[in-house]
């Protein structure tokens, strides 16, 4: 720490070159950062490549290459045992052939509904839970926090199976519980009815993942300094007012992140539907989302042989949709969001 003082002295001496040298020397001793800068004039910065290599190689091998190859695969078709380049023909089939496009738009529509239920149910409840949990006078907060978060770490298969049993009209506890409060008439075999199945599954997924927005918002709420809230209190903003006027604006960036995570997660969803309804996403494709549609097409199902090329085209469309959504968020929403320095 004595060096800056010396450089000050150097300026005093009005010796520019000595000043530069001194700076160099100072930073070399203090941070070591410009050593690299200094050295770079003489030899190539090989070490950067060396340090980046593991991450770049692994990421390329497991993410970039498969992604690019999937997109490439979508441009081919198998005709008489031969793989033939067919350009965008698969996409044309997917969007304009009535048999394919009907399934595609159905799946996309279901996907949007799935996402909407999450945005309207999961995230508001998650925020509310976080707000309640961060209340300083709440007892057993840690217990509630863990209890609500636990479903998130369960496997989809377990969640799907457990809920199927709970809602089962034959063995499930849902009908008998409703019966106990005299509301048996409200019970329906939800997972087996076209009009309810998708919403039921979306709510099961909300149940499972509500811990994620809760934890993220909880962390954001905890990071709000007490001084700000106290300053607000002095100005007469307390209770709910403090939440709406002080805390909510401060956690908006976190809510943005949660929205985009929900979007990506929902448009990539597959597991829960597959585990509980199978690859045909019954009843009558009412729970079919892009993930199950892609799986069925790519790997085949029962007597239907797999078609990797059409499957890749669907995967490509999913990729484009997610990319578009993320871009809209990044450029349309995030850049305009006001951030506060805490």
């Amino acid at each position: 720490m004595s060096r800056p003082l010396q450089t000050g002295k150097a300026i005093h001496a009005n010796d520019v070159s000595a000043f530069a040298q001194d700076i160099n020397e100072a930073s070399r001793l203090e941070t070591g950062k410009s050593v690299q800068k200094h050295a770079s004039r003489r030899r190539p910065r090989l070490h950067i490549a060396v340090f980046l290599a593991p991450a770049v190689l692994i990421y390329t091998a497991v993410m970039i290459f498969p992604l690019a190859n999937t997109l490439r695969l979508a441009l081919y078709s198998r005709i008489d045992q031969e793989r033939v380049f067919t350009g965008l023909a698969n996409f044309q089939t997917l969007f304009f052939d009535p048999i394919w496009s009907e399934q595609f738009w159905n799946a996309l529509g279901n996907n949007f509904w799935f996402f909407l239920v999450h945005m309207l149910v999961q995230n508001p409840i998650g925020i509310a839970l976080a707000a309640i949990l961060s209340h300083p006078r709440l007892r057993f907060a840690a217990l509630y926090r863990s209890a609500i978060f636990i479903p998130t770490i369960l496997s989809f298969v377990i969640v799907g199976f457990a809920w199927k049993l709970i809602l089962s009209p034959i063995w499930g506890i849902a009908p008998s519980m409703l019966d106990a409060v005299g509301l048996k008439s409200l019970f329906a075999p939800w997972l087996g009815k076209e009009e309810y199945a998708l919403t039921t599954l979306a709510l099961i997924s909300v149940w499972q993942f509500i811990g994620i927005p809760m934890m993220l918002i909880y962390a954001a709420l905890l990071s709000i300094p007490e001084e700000i809230l106290e300053a607000g209190e002095v100005d007469g903003i307390t209770g709910m007012g403090a939440f709406w006027k002080i805390k909510l604006p401060l956690i908006l960036p976190s809510i943005g992140i949660i929205s985009i995570l929900t979007f990506v997660g929902n448009f990539n969803a597959f597991d829960l539907i597959y585990a509980s309804q199978g690859a045909l996403a019954g009843p009558d494709f009412s729970t079919d989302i892009l993930g199950t549609f892609m799986y069925r097409t790519f790997f085949g199902f029962q007597l239907q042989l797999g078609d990797p090329h059409m499957g890749s085209a669907i995967a490509g469309a999913m990729f484009a949709i997610i990319l578009l959504g993320v871009c809209i968020y990044l450029f349309g929403v995030q850049t305009r969001m006001r951030r506060y320095q805490l």
């Binding site: 087996g192 199978g278 029962q302």
Partner: protein, 418 residues
């Protein structure tokens, strides 16, 4: 020092072991039936090896869902076994066309099988066969005999009897008349549509006419089963829309349901689970005295890897599989999987016996959608699942379903396009 000695001993034993079997040929069997591993090891293989000294057989199954993928990659890499258990229809046909399965046209033992039995492992024109048929499953209805006796119900022969029986069980109220759900969809098609359907489309006649393009799915013969399925829904119990396949099995074996639309593969499982007397009846015909048709669906075959090093030994094994001896061992060890050879096999399980006796009274056919018709998109089999569910739930009329299926099939299948 100790380790070295051990190594030496091991090497020595390996060498002698190899030497003593040097003249033997080892055949490896690829299969998805890992459930049957003990049956093969304890019964089938010893019986074969006793008859054929010098040939040793190894049964190496993989998990059913992975079988097709595992087998394909092994075949491509040239590391697959000598004998290959064949899935029915297109999966095996693709292997034959790719040159992985040998043509068995010169295997005399193939004459032990009927044309229906062989149809699952033939080229479309029937000119070459590539797998020896091993077993089929038969569709029908299993019923709770105690419940029938208690309610005084006769085993139904005609459709009118059948619905009268359902009505009677329903009125009594102590049993769910029929245990089937639509949640998993396939039961509705496999145990519903393809179970009762052959009586309407006259078995093989209708099935072949459909493949030839002479009949259409909009014809009365193909839509009428949907109309009958629609009449099932009041008898399926509360919430059948969300009832899964295991739910239905449990409902029946717990004695809570009286009738179970079944495939014969259920027999061994039900025998261990149900503590009441069970019986079986074949799909009821419309009028007493009509010819009956049953779905006797070819399910497992076995073929020879075209690039095997031991074609003679492999053929000896296949010939033995086609023999009555194999049929007797297999049929009795796995009640519900019926050997396909022409010579009747004496089965011991009463329920299995009942199922197999229908072969003598009725005409056999296979599931209508399995051969050729499920090659394109939309896939007729998968569409039939959805259609059967819709028929039971009443969300579409039989005529609408017929039109939808016909349009889908005609969109890619040339013989149906005119």
């Amino acid at each position: 020092m100790k380790r070295k000695t051990l190594k030496a001993v091991l090497t020595a034993t390996t060498l002698t072991a190899t030497a003593s079997w040097a003249d033997d040929v080892t055949l490896t069997i690829e299969s998805w039936r890992n459930d049957d591993l003990t049956l093969w090891q304890d019964k089938i293989i010893p019986a074969f090896e006793a008859k054929h000294p010098g040939i040793r057989v190894k049964f190496t199954p993989s998990a059913p869902p992975e079988y097709n993928a595992v087998l394909n990659s092994k075949l491509d890499a040239g590391s697959a076994g000598d004998l290959i258990t064949c899935r029915p229809f297109d999966a095996s046909l693709a292997l034959f066309q790719a040159g992985h399965l040998a043509d068995l046209g010169d295997l005399d033992a193939m004459s032990n099988f009927s044309d229906v039995a062989k149809s699952a492992w033939q080229t479309d024109d029937g000119s070459s066969s590539f797998c020896v048929p091993m077993a089929s499953v038969i569709h029908g209805f299993i019923y709770n005999a105690d419940a029938f006796a208690e309610l005084g119900i006769e085993v139904p022969k005609t459709e009118a009897d059948f619905f009268a029986a359902l009505e009677k069980i329903s009125e009594d109220g102590s049993y769910i008349p029929m245990a089937m759900g639509t949640n998993d969809q396939w039961e509705a098609a496999t145990m519903g549509y393809n179970n009762i359907g052959p009586n309407y489309w006259k078995g093989e006649n209708g099935r072949r006419a459909l493949i030839a393009g002479e009949q259409k799915l909009t014809d009365e013969a193909w839509t009428a089963p949907y109309a009958t399925l629609a009449k099932w829904s009041p008898y399926l119990g509360d919430g059948y829309e969300a009832q899964t396949y295991p739910d239905s099995q449990n409902l029946f074996t717990l004695g809570r349901a009286a009738i179970y639309p079944a495939g014969s593969w259920e027999i061994s499982g039900f025998n261990t689970l149900a503590d009441f007397k069970m019986g079986a009846f074949k799909p009821p015909v419309q009028n007493a005295g009509d010819t009956c048709y049953i779905s006797d669906h070819t399910d497992i075959g076995i073929g020879m890897n075209a690039s095997t090093d031991n074609p003679e030994a492999a053929k000896a094994f296949l010939t033995w599989v086609a023999s009555p001896e194999f049929a007797a061992i297999f049929g009795n060890a796995l009640p519900g999987f019926f050997p396909l050879s022409k010579e009747p096999v004496e089965l011991e399980d009463p329920l299995a016996k009942e199922f197999v006796s229908w072969r003598g009274e009725c005409e056999s056919t296979i599931r209508s959608t399995y051969q050729i018709l499920s090659r394109g998109t939309p896939n007729l089999e998968n569409e039939t699942w959805g259609a059967s569910v819709a028929a039971i739930k009443g969300t579409a009329s039989p005529e609408e379903l017929g039109t939808k299926l016909q349009d889908g099939l005609a969109s890619w299948y040339a013989p149906q396009q005119n």
